[in-house]
Symmetry: C2
């Protein structure tokens, strides 16, 4: 048997601990599959004394993670520190500069610096792999870069953030409002103390920008992702959506159309018959639409120690086999810089929800705002709120997004509208 | 750019034509992704004059497919002839003996000769790839061999035959009986003139035996697959299953438990909340359960020109990249020969359906047969049939399979039972 592949592991949180446990638990099987053993030789984390339920004695301890990049007993550095810059970026750069392969679960790092790091990896003939960065245990990076590689991909979309999906599923199942579920999730450790990366859609945007590059052979454009989160959603929206045959999900969606790139993260109404609608709790799911393969659907656990470790070690096995694959599915120089699509020119159906004064003439004013911009209404529900307000929820017919937004601005300016209107896209895919 | 990868294509049916079309339609994109162009140089099929809507002029025509194995202008042979033996096997052997890579969509060939061919490929350091052999466009071979490679897989199962899934979906949607839908499907070309490979579960068994080898690191044991098909199913079974909260699907299921291999193809009742239940028509789907990743679910088109060509060309891109991967996820010599599990020792819930004489005491006799073997009943429906018979459908509580079979044998021997009883497994997974 060839010599072992030796791993230097930076970061011993849940995922890092999971990688150590997985490499130990399935060591024999992994060696059979990889053609050689895969062993951890050195580790680094912020706090050496913390009890992680792991025996770290077999590994060399390194205080400064960046030292892993230059150790003689390390072939591959696994970066699980997190963060787009700082120690993670320093370690990534030094690893590739030092001629070692890099495996990372860090979507923020790659969304911001992925092209530069990929160029470094290419220049050195080194592996740079990141299956764990998107959708946890689901092999979607491989699915796009290799499985669907024969296809012109028109669209890739999915549920990429387990925290948001958990919050929305729990609001619906337990009939709780957003703030209550968020506070619960924070207390239980499912959501960060500062939850904005998750609930404002930024984490999903990081992941989406990577999927888009792989799908379309385009340069990563994280800044081009229009991201909205789920803070504005009320339980009433979930109820109205259900009454209309939809479930609300935070969807990351990227399309390649007419030579332009459209990328958006948004809460959307997913028809109950669509497989994303049945993707609940901590599950993630991704849909890939290719010109020959049609629709592919992948679903699995999007986070957590075991699934994420599974993805990290899959990358290590590929490296051990000598089959790292191109970082973004093709050489960095072959990726095209796509212009951003004009979102306002899109059309679709939209869900609009307004809190309005409960008095005569209000509905006439709202519907006039839509009529003024040529938007017609497919269905409308009005319900009493407290003593003085009512809730109006509507689904439009197919309409131009710019027209819907103009109607909405007109409504929002009216004194009868008591709170900022909510507009959600309907995922008619 | 490196020189093109040159393909010799044997078989120009739907899939072969699809491969030619795909390589032409997406040639530039494929070259960017593969790092080199992939071009067809030579083709072979039974009938040169047949109109396939393809311009074959650019390709050398070869009357005897086996000649592709020795042509100087061919790097990879794509075998799309079909059949476990005969010309497909001859071509496969000669291709590998001649030092060329082989890509095939032929599950029958691999179920019977896969280990020998993989050994030949290994001995020659050659690629042998077969993504298109299982579940059409779904990258499930790659998903198991690479994506989930870090995991000890406990179970792999799914819907692997589009013809059966189409028939069952159409029986339900159109309220037609089995024979009518089969005749329709044959007339429309969705089912073969001799449909037994599909509807008796043999095609699913071929595919399942390959998935099991990949999942468990075990030697292919096609002969060890207990295969039942869907001939015995009546529309009434579909109706009863629906009334009980299930949909009937032909499921291929393989488990690795206590060092033994269990492989079965059977019509099963799938709970409506399970993702397989929503996999309709020509879709295929596969569930993989790994010890770290948990449940992964893959769904997509299981057959047809486009999806199958997508899988064939994905294999070609892997080969062009110089990343073929081990044939069955590890060297053939590392695959273990697992003993077959004792199916009668399994337990679960079962659906039983009987056509019985419509007279007093019949139900007492049936239920006594179950009681005699310690099987208890969770639910039971009796419905009138024609003037003289009635239909009884039951779901048992958890029971040993041997006990249920013994009860069933006792019932079948009774003069009150008018037709062979139907027993279906309930997929409580």
């Amino acid at each position: 048997m060839t010599p072992p592949l030796r791993i230097g592991l930076a970061g011993l949180g849940n995922v890092g601990a999971g990688v150590v446990k997985l490499l130990a638990a399935n060591a024999d099987l992994i060696a059979r599959r990889a053609g050689r053993p895969i062993i951890v030789t050195a580790v680094s984390a912020r706090d050496r004394s913390r009890d992680r339920g792991l025996d770290l004695a077999p590994f060399s301890w390194v205080d400064d993670a960046a030292e892993l990049a230059t150790r003689d007993d390390v072939d591959v550095v696994v970066e699980l520190i997190g963060g787009a810059d700082g120690p993670a970026l320093t370690l990534a750069r030094r690893t590739l500069a030092g001629g070692k392969a890099l495996v990372t679960a860090n979507k923020a790092l790659l969304a911001h610096h992925g092209l530069d790091l990929a160029a470094d990896a290419e220049a050195g003939g080194l592996a740079l792999k990141y299956e764990a960065a998107v959708a946890g245990g689901i092999p979607i990076i491989k699915g796009l870069a290799e499985g669907a590689a024969a296809n012109r991909i028109a669209r890739v979309y999915g549920l990429l953030n387990g925290t948001c999906n958990y919050i929305l599923s729990r609001m619906e199942a337990e009939r709780l409002d957003f703030a209550t579920v968020l506070a619960e999730a924070q207390a239980a450790g499912y959501a960060e103390a500062d939850p904005s990366f998750d609930i404002d859609g930024i984490d999903t945007a990081h992941k989406l920008s990577l999927l888009a590059a792989l799908a379309f052979g385009s340069r990563i454009d994280f800044a081009g992702v229009a991201a909205q989160g789920i803070r504005a959603l009320a339980l009433a929206d979930i109820d109205q959506a259900a009454a209309l045959g939809f479930r609300i999900k935070l969807v990351g969606l990227a399309e390649h159309e007419d030579g332009a790139l459209f990328q958006r993260v948004h809460a959307a109404l997913v028809p109950l018959g669509h497989p994303l609608a049945a993707t609940d709790g901590a599950l993630n799911a991704v849909v890939v639409e290719g010109d020959f393969v049609g629709r592919l659907f992948f679903q699995g656990r999007g986070a957590g120690e075991g699934p994420t470790a599974s993805a990290v070690v899959a990358d290590l096995i590929d490296i051990a086999r000598g089959q790292p694959g191109p970082v973004f599915g093709m050489p960095v120089g072959a990726l095209t810089a796509l212009p951003r699509a004009d979102a306002s020119a899109r059309s679709g159906r939209y869900y609009l929800r307004l809190i309005v004064a409960d008095r005569p003439g209000v509905l006439a004013e709202l519907t006039a705002a839509l009529r003024d911009h040529g938007v017609s209404i497919e269905s409308l529900i009005q319900r009493g709120g407290d003593d003085t307000t009512a809730m109006v929820a509507m689904v439009t017919h197919q309409a131009r997004e710019a027209d819907v937004l103009a109607s909405l601005a007109q409504m929002a300016a009216s004194p009868v509208v008591a709170a900022p209107p909510v507009m959600l896209h309907i995922l008619d895919l």
